[in-house]
Amino acid sequence: MAVVAIPKASEEATSAPTPTTQPNTITLRISRFNPSNDSLPTFAEFKIPVQKWTTVLEAILHVKQNLDHSIAVRYSCRQASCGSCGMKINGKPALACYTKISEIGSKVVTVEPMSNFPIIRDLAVDFKQLFSDHKKMKPFIMRDDSEITPGTKEFVQTPKDLEKFLQFSYCIKCGLCNSACPTMATDESFIGPQGLAQAYRYVADNRDQGKKDRLKIVDQSHGIWRCHFAGSCSHVCPKGVDPAMAIQLLRGYLMGFRK
């Protein structure tokens, strides 16, 4: 049994929380770009105080609240769940709310919009293509009968069945994978790791009967064959989805390695 020591009244006074670290000052460089006015992005620099626990998103919001409210940034959950705050942080795609300044280990932090997505303004990018490719993968269970048909039961799955697709269903559509992908960098019609991984998520679900349809969708010239297994998508994915694995397993079906 765990024993919890209750501090005596005299100790309590002295153990009041004292800041363990003084705020550090860092330089935050934010890429500014408005496609309707600017021809080139520029950087705005801000000196801001940060604590050990300050995230990049908090740093940006500090600037927005105190120094320049016109900075465009998208965020919502602040806890790596909504997939809104992906950006390039010191050159690499990451979630701003999930990256602590202290982890970066640099006095200068540069934030830029994610590559391979059109810029709406500053740090906010356009997800139209990602969402439309995601939809093309038919991200739903396909079968003739349904759980809500009278007289039928729910589709039972064992934990083992669940494990086959669970990690791929953790995707938050943040787009970091698409922004790290080398094929995405040059091929504007490529489905991308996000969409391909979602195709596999449903193919691997034993409730689903749409495998044939989905394999047909990804088996096209800007589809699965453009993946060269460089692994960069999985390198940056913040949720452990591992799109590179999903894509190779999906391709296994097309190549006849898997049934």
Partner: protein
């Protein structure tokens, strides 16, 4: 302008191997060695086709390649060939879903199973084999 609006990284981003671990380096080397081998193959066909112009032309062509520069180029070709084949076998198996890990419940800190030690080991072995082959090749070419 279109590039700016789409914000795509383009060839420069694609060919930048520095940001995403050894797997991206392996990808970059595979492309580079693939292109190198293609260039060599074309040169090689040009070189060997000189035989249709007779023995003299053939020997003149051979002489052209029997130089220190020629030997250095051949040593690099040996390295490219070995790396490209060894890593190519890894990539082909991976493309079929072999050796890319098994799906499971993701746990913090979410290390991707497809970037596993077997894949990394194969990449390093490909590089090491290429280096060994280059050393052996250079010893034979430059030895008397």
């Amino acid at each position: 302008m279109a590039e700016r609006l789409s914000n795509r990284e383009g060839i420069r981003g694609m060919a930048n191997p520095t940001r995403y671990g050894i797997e991206r380096v392996a990808y970059w080397l595979q492309r580079l060695t693939g292109l190198g081998l293609l260039a060599y193959l074309i040169g090689h066909i040009y070189e060997t086709s000189s035989i249709v112009n007779g023995k003299v032309a053939w020997e003149k062509m051979l002489e052209l390649t029997q130089t220190p520069q020629g030997h250095i180029i051949l040593t690099i070709v040996i390295g490219m060939c070995v790396y490209h084949t060894a890593n190519g076998i890894r990539v082909m198996l991976g493309h079929g879903g072999i050796g890319v890990g098994k799906p499971g419940e993701p746990e913090y800190p979410y290390k991707a199973a497809s970037l596993n030690y077997k894949q990394r080991l194969c990449i390093w072995v490909s590089i090491a084999l290429a280096a060994l082959a280059m050393m052996y090749g250079a010893a034979v070419l430059f030895g008397d």
